[in-house]
Amino acid sequence: MKEQIRIASGQGFWGDLLTAPRVQVTQGPIDYLVMDYLAEVTMSIMQKQKRRNPALGYAKDMIPLIEDILPDCLERKVKIITNGGGVNPHACAGAILDSARKIGIKKLIVGIVTGDDILTRIDELRSDGNAFRNMETGEDVATIADRLSSANVYFGAFPIVEALRRGADIVITGRTTDTGLTLAPMIYEYDWKEDDWDKLAAGTIAGHIMECGGQATGGNFSADWKMVPGLENIGFPITEAYPDGTIVITKHEGTGGLVSRQTVKEQLLYEIGNPNKYITPEVIADFTTIQLSDDGPGRVKMTGVKGRPRTDTYKVSMSFADGYTAVSTLTYTWPDALEKAKAADRILRERLKNLGLEFEEIRTEYVGVNACHDHLAAMPNPVNEVVLRVGVRGKHYESVERFGKEIAPLILTGPPSVTGFAGGRPKPSEVIAFWPALIPKDAVEPSITIEQL
């Protein structure tokens, strides 16, 4: 058994810094590279892409990225684990194998985890008695079942572990929890058992620290952002994991950014809900048991983590179409910038009303004044410039589209010293709403397949 393994975060979301994976693989020793691509809204976007082209539905920009680092990964024995397979992990694996062939790689084993995508099985699962009740409202999914655009079970680390046991150099999954990507190599390397609750919880929390990439290493750092060096060259987080469940968070030497107890704490608390009860497919982790200590420069040690037995359900994230929105902006300047923006908003709303358009909501913000902090913000005096930002949401495409045609006319038929409509008419975008639910673990089965060169 290895004495320690080093797991590196390569991407924290779909759209993250494209240079990060190469830095992680080449600027120091690592054993695993994990790349998290999936936010809730991502699955629905990928389903849409797959409907248009059955060969798509995964994080397409990951392919050139993997092609770039693959020779180095194989030479250095770095395994890649990613949920970038989205709603089409097999097509994603196929694209990676094509890339590998193209650059002359002779031997490569790709493990594929599927079974999470239950969109086509919903009717069957419902007739088996699964109501998919909304976890927040308790409603039966029947009310939106005909509008579903995606439905995915959150699998955890164990299917990835199985793929690693079958020799995978790269593991491609669909909807796997962000934390499972990091936990899997620990289970695999140290042969942690399904009821090693404390160790599973420690690995899960390490995964939580890693899942937003640079947000653990000095990015978006509220305590003292001016003191963070070299953000232009930020090093993404690396987890050093030990067989007893001790975790050290660090980053490569020579990279920018910062690892301190403060940067780690900010990420620890990010979007966790109830800290006593952080539920994943493997375990219930208790964040109130975490002990952090400094472990030399740029190293933070985590010990003491406790976990409790897992639940007997998986979380399911479903998405459904729920109307349209459009947002547009205009910029007003001194003199009387804010008064002009307010007058324009009043005129616009009157015109929308006269046209008989109906919306669920019209929202007006004054960007530069109080768009984010509302009544908590002190009023600047004078307001030199302000961006009027108006958004609408409604059930009918036509109304939302018509709103977009009412913005430009304000420039010549409203208050003066106005500019900034270069973007053209805003197009309605579809609202994707979410339906969180639970499903018994025995109702779905992850499936692991191997493809290789």
Partner: protein
């Protein structure tokens, strides 16, 4: 004595559906009791006022010198439904640090 929360704490926020999650962390762990005593659910609810439609929940993490808050109904429906610039509640942490606390000298 009045103190500004930003002088004794740092914070990060994000979303879960229509709920904002704010982690509030004592800059110096010895100030955690001040956060615990003064930054209550009631205080946070009244501070944000109309920005938070639902209830405020607070969880304690003395091991990290931190509190975690859930502000329900604060994101205009959340996700792609929200018309807010800050639809993911990313700047609520900074907004919370605007808070001032009136504390007893002895704490």
């Amino acid at each position: 004595m009045n103190i500004r929360l930003i002088d004794i704490a740092h914070a990060r926020s994000g979303d879960k559906g229509d709920t904002v999650n704010i982690g509030l962390i004592a800059r110096d762990e010895k100030d955690y009791p001040v956060l615990k005593k003064y930054v209550t659910e009631e205080k946070v609810k009244s501070f944000f006022g109309t920005m938070v439609k639902g209830r405020v929940e607070r969880f304690e993490l003395p091991n990290l010198g931190a509190l975690n808050f859930l502000l329900h109904g604060a994101l205009g429906g959340g996700g792609t439904k929200s018309l807010m610039t800050d639809a993911q509640g990313k700047t609520f942490a900074a907004a919370m640090l605007r808070m001032e606390l009136e504390i007893e000298e002895t704490v």
